[in-house]
Amino acid sequence: MHISEGILSHGILAGTTILAGVGVAMGLGSMRDKDIPAVGILTAAFFVASLIHVPVGPVSAHLVLNGLLGMILGIRAFPSILVALFLQAMLFQFGGLTTLGANTLNMALPALICSLFLGWMKKPGLDGRLFTLAAFLCGCLSIFLSGIMVGLTLFANGKAFIPSAKIIVGAHVPVMIIEGFLTASCMGFLKKVKPELLRDQNTRTADDV
């Protein structure tokens, strides 16, 4: 859920932008020059994935997959999501310039939290069922936290926004289950087809790209 321009007050905009800025700076710091093409192309892949609409009963929801992104990119999810959101604003007018910080934070922080708490699932030789469960949780939790954070941002903006914040959090629940399921299936697929993608970035050797 993108927060549009003109809704948040100066204080909230400044706070979220600073926090997002710290995340982006840390992400860029952990990124070597040679990582840029790989991170850029993966960002593009997630950008395209976010254009996919899956049917949910009579309506459809677009994929977010920030849990999966966090699992693959770690802290580098911050610059990656910032770039993707900037492009979405430039091309499709989703979100906006001033809310770029708030939206980045709301999407990237859950991604980072998932990668920190569920990162153990990337260990090779993990039990298959445990892996699927962790992957499901990763997809669920990242969307749930994103919903909560959008709600909190609106809540911090003023008491009048509480009902709309509640509705937004509620609307994330069905999406969260679908995302969890999709993330679990997708990670299972990646584990079979290209396990290097899920390998811990720090243990990668210099020959890897």
Partner: protein
């Protein structure tokens, strides 16, 4: 192609305006207008947006179409704000009482959201995306971030084509999307395949770049050039935006 600059108008004055100055204008305007609460400040913002939109000379229909996403969220807030903010009752809708304060706030948000988006639209309709990135890099944005932006923008076209190809292949094999486990699994594999192919492509792109002597620097073609006319217009706009800020600080909120 959906990611191209088809919306770009190369014959407008805004197109020739130096992109770095354009960024400064858009950012400073957005900062001041985002926090505006006074009618006079918003009126000044409206005049500036009107002037710049006219300079950008963009299609009215397309502009209206591009305002739709912003107003989706605004409309959503209209459903709640008038009824949740405590204040003097303006009108009743069955058991719900809409407050004057709530309507004020919703109106304020509507005006601000549209003004900010119109300003941004005037920017996007007059600046190619690559130029916008180059200008940000000249303004001191981290080079790594700008490179990441270039790579992402360069590859969304290709990866989207790849996605379309895989999707066509699914349809040819008789895939019909429904709310079902099968659909979700198929989409998960589709996304997985897109990621695998992208990552493979990233490896070969990086090797190809190494062969061409890449060492973490990208070189843009040509430099930006600020003409006297650019500077003159920029100074007037900046003074106007500063004026907006001063009015905002001194006038009483409406």
């Amino acid at each position: 192609m959906m990611f191209d600059d088809t919306w770009l108008n190369t014959s407008s004055f805004m197109y020739t305006f130096d992109p770095r100055l354009k960024w400064v204008v858009v950012f400073s305007f957005s900062l001041v207008a985002a926090g505006a609460r006074t009618l006079s400040c918003l009126a000044c913002a409206g005049v500036l947006v009107l002037f710049i939109t006219c300079c950008a000379n963009q299609s009215v229909l397309e502009t209206l179409k591009r305002l739709v996403p912003v107003n989706g969220m605004v409309l959503f807030l209209w459903l709640f704000l008038p009824f949740t903010l405590q204040g003097k009752g303006a009108f009743a809708l069955g058991p719900l009482l809409a407050s004057g304060e709530g309507i004020h706030l919703a109106l304020l948000i509507t005006v601000k959201a549209n003004l900010l988006m119109l300003m941004f639209l005037a920017f996007t309709s007059s600046t190619p995306i690559i130029t916008a990135g180059q200008a940000l890099s000249r303004l001191g944005l981290s080079n790594k971030l700008v490179h990441l932006f270039f790579f992402t923008y360069r590859y969304i076209h290709l990866i989207h084509q790849e996605y379309q190809r895989l999707k066509t292949a699914m349809h040819i094999r008789g895939f019909v999307q429904k709310t079902s486990v099968h659909t979700y699994k198929s989409y998960a594999c589709l996304v997985g395949m897109v990621l695998v192919r992208s990552s493979n492509r990233a490896e070969s792109v990086y090797r190809a770049m190494l062969c061409r002597g890449f060492h973490g620097k990208l070189y843009g073609s040509g430099d930006f050039f600020i003409t006297k006319k650019d500077l003159f217009i920029f100074l007037i706009i900046s003074a106007w935006i500063m004026g907006m800020g001063i009015i905002e600080c001194t006038a009483t909120p409406f």
